[in-house]
């Protein structure tokens, strides 16, 4: 492959806080700070992702599941010697990969965060945890759902017993939902412009 700045410039412009990537000096503090890194969760550390962006490795970056491994612990942000808002850059890249249709829709965090969690917000204005859990279990179909459900039934029962989980997953919308929805629609319209999404 060949070094190519097109992708870097695309990221600087379209991805949240992406322009910071040019300031990385490859010291490795972010990689050493990331909790999941030590569990072999990712192939490329944030530092490597940044170098790949600058090299122009578009597909490798956008199809990588590594950006989806961020627990939002913010260790990288507070330690970065160049003040890069790394957590937000990684979130931005993940989002950008999703928008560009490069992110694997079945990537667990991608699927959960976007199709389950976010859609749950959009649907009612708030997150209904019960609904969230159900959806999560059944995201891979009925069978998988029941299996998952059984696996977690103790905890679920515990939560029900503790009155910290609704017996029924259904919840109503917030009162001002229409306005809320209108707001989001407009927000997306503006967002899509920036992300250069069709």
């Amino acid at each position: 492959m060949t070094y190519d700045l097109t992708f870097a410039k695309e990221v600087y412009k379209n991805s949240e806080e992406g322009h910071w990537i040019k300031m990385c000096m490859q010291c490795g503090v972010c990689a050493g700070s990331c909790p999941l890194g030590f569990l072999g969760a990712w192939k490329y550390s944030p530092r490597q992702i940044f170098q790949m962006v600058r090299a122009g490795l578009r597909d490798e970056v956008l199809t990588s599941s590594d950006m989806w491994m961020c627990t939002s612990c913010y260790n990288c942000i507070v330690r970065c010697p160049r003040n890069l808002p790394i957590t937000h850059i990684i979130h931005g890249l993940a989002r950008y990969a999703s928008v560009q249709g490069k992110a694997d829709p079945k990537q667990p965090t991608h699927q959960f965060a976007k199709d389950i969690f976010w859609e749950n917000i959009v649907a009612t204005g708030r997150v209904g945890e019960a609904a969230l859990t159900m959806k999560l279990y059944f995201k891979d179909g009925i069978g998988e759902g029941i299996k998952q459900g059984l696996e977690m039934k103790d905890s679920a029962l515990g939560m029900l017993k503790a009155k910290r989980l609704k017996p029924l997953p259904f919840r109503g919308k917030i009162k001002g939902y229409p306005g809320f929805k209108a707001m989001l629609n407009k927000a997306f319209e503006l967002e899509n412009k920036k992300e250069g999404k069709a």
């Binding site: 949240e16 612990c73 260790n75 965060a113 976007k114 707001m183 989001l184």
Partner: protein, 294 residues
């Protein structure tokens, strides 16, 4: 009586995962003459994974809407959150609205569609900040009537109450405020190396095994340190550490059964509050160790 505008967040709703925090916080505030006025019809803050579906403007609009409502209903009162993720999203939103005019303009275009507008000015704070800065250490200490003597607690600050903003200017790597809060109830805060380690946060849903490894290490560290319980200000940490203990034991052959409590539960008890005031009946891992203090 100090009044604040209040954003409980989804997990603090009735019958939600942090209902026990909600209850104990309400009791605590009553005892400390703090009045929390919940924003009517608030919406979700987007939390730490809102980015995936939300991107920048939709995500920030969520908190902006709550700001706008708070302003309408509560005027300039400080907006207080008890959930780390809620506080973080709100704090991030208010900073970006304050420093990025372009973002602020776009967000307001969105708000307008919902018949709202927000021009800034509301200070978003974590309840712990309110306790430290507005109530003060001395007052908090003075309220103690039933010191939790002999209780050994591991103060687990976690991530989002601590980074990137941090509470009351405390350090990112070795914050002290939680240990001080534990100490003021008469309990002992054990030295706890995993104080600011990550529990996996929202990835507990999508990367359960990896997150469980993180929580396993955290709980193990507390147990090794001889803790009777782990104390945290964060509902996500509380959930991940408590509800998944069974899963962790099953994955790693451990036999953890350690209660995970909120600082508010300890304080309420030490202030002479009842078992239910402290919502200790709502624990998944029973907090029997606390029984002797009521």
């Amino acid at each position: 009586m100090k009044e604040y505008s209040f954003f409980p967040g989804c997990s603090s709703e009735h019958n939600a995962s942090a209902a026990n925090m909600e209850t104990s916080v309400r009791s605590l505030c009553k005892m400390l003459a703090i009045q929390l006025n919940e924003i009517e019809d608030w919406n979700c803050c987007g939390a730490s994974i809102g980015y995936a579906g939300g991107g920048v403007i939709p995500r920030l609009s969520l908190s902006a809407r709550n700001f706008a409502l708070s302003k309408q209903q509560q005027g300039d009162k400080d907006l207080v959150a008890t959930c780390a993720a809620c506080w973080l999203s709100m704090r991030e939103t208010s900073e970006r609205l304050a420093h990025e005019p372009e973002v602020k303009a776009k967000v307001n275009l969105a708000l307008k569609e919902g018949g709202l507008t927000y021009d800034g000015g509301i200070k978003t704070r974590h309840l712990v900040e309110v306790l430290i800065e507005d109530v003060g250490w001395d007052t908090m200490k003075a309220k103690v009537t039933k010191p939790l003597s002999g209780l050994k607690a591991a103060g687990y600050v976690g991530c989002q109450t601590n980074r990137p903003f941090g509470v009351a200017g405390d350090s990112f790597e070795n914050p002290q405020y939680l240990d001080r809060m534990i100490a003021l109830t008469g309990a002992t805060a054990i030295p706890f190396a995993k104080k600011v380690a990550c529990c996996g946060g929202a990835l507990m849903f999508s990367e359960q095994e990896k997150s469980c490894q993180l929580t396993r290490d955290i709980i193990q560290c507390a147990v090794d340190g001889g803790a009777d319980c782990i104390v945290t200000p964060c509902p996500v940490c509380q959930l991940n550490l408590e509800v998944y203990q069974g899963k962790i034991n099953q994955l790693f052959g451990t036999s953890f059964n350690i209660p995970i409590l909120y600082y508010s539960q300890l304080m309420v008890l030490s202030y002479g509050g009842s078992w239910t005031d402290a919502a200790l009946h709502q624990q998944v891992v029973p907090a029997d160790v606390m029984k002797k203090f009521v």
